[in-house]
Subunit: 199 residues, 2 copies
Amino acid sequence: MIYPEEFQHLRDSFQELPGVGEKSAERYVYSIDSLEIDKVEEFAKNLLEFKNNIRKCSICGHITNKEVCSICSSDTRETSTICVVEDSKSVFMFEKTGKFNGVYHVLGGLISPVNEINPDDINISSLVDKRVLNGVKEIILALNPSMEGETTSLYIQKLLENTDIKISRLSYGIPMGADIEYLDPLTIIRAIDDRKFLS
Amino acid sequence: MIYPEEFQHLRDSFQELPGVGEKSAERYVYSIDSLEIDKVEEFAKNLLEFKNNIRKCSICGHITNKEVCSICSSDTRETSTICVVEDSKSVFMFEKTGKFNGVYHVLGGLISPVNEINPDDINISSLVDKRVLNGVKEIILALNPSMEGETTSLYIQKLLENTDIKISRLSYGIPMGADIEYLDPLTIIRAIDDRKFLS
């Protein structure tokens, strides 16, 4: 046993993080060695406080430290527009734009027959059963343009087809700043399909 | 404030790790959200136990959870050969080879006039004052082939020049598996300088 066990244990913990292999984990352990004790105690405290206090909003499923998240409990958000996203990361991305004033619904995953993730495994039923009844006018499907994202979008679309809720999805197309020369053919096809008429 | 404060605090802690920016730190926070509570509690415990129990070996300066590290306290190591390294990472690298049976001396840094790191700031004096007296026959300088590494090697060499201790350094040359075509000229120069005579 070359490494002290405290070293090995901490390295193992770091390896639980996504994309962190043995080498990076060791690098992190060395950095903890040079960090002040206060910072390390804070780190440990932050881990526990995050894990113990953060839960899912009982309305939309977004991560929050309250029963209902700050978006769902805000008076100024238009609850008639629900943006359906895969996870909380997407919520933060949309919030950073500051341009969306509706509310969210976090699925917590996407339907994926290959990975045996069925509609029941993700947070779809509460969207349709509870939220859609309360005067929702539009549902924006904001899922990744992947097989799973499109399957999930289609599934939700079908569930809502007998309601008069408008359903939209994000447009596909050329990302800002991109060079058409370097785009993949599929993106170009989608950009043509979703083209916006100017006159 | 878009993120719950527990999220922000944990992200800040992750950003203390080397090479971890905001994006990676957020990715780590999300992964903590999906980790079981047991694993997170263990993570916090491992951080504190590492920080509280790991110290520097009173003989060689290597990290250990005892007063004297397992290498210095071993009966089977040849204490007459000391391998001088920059940090504990190097010790672990050498130990992994299983081919070195001497002991180590961890400097905890390298002399660097540019960064105002003087000989007194690193663990050199204890090597010369204490250890060298106890029947040491050879000192292997195993420092990086950088300006700082060579300055430090030279400094130690001067300190020991009036003793009959043999001083060596690691050979410079072509790393195993490398293609000469892609080597830098300096490595080739060093490989010529350090060439090994076969007959």
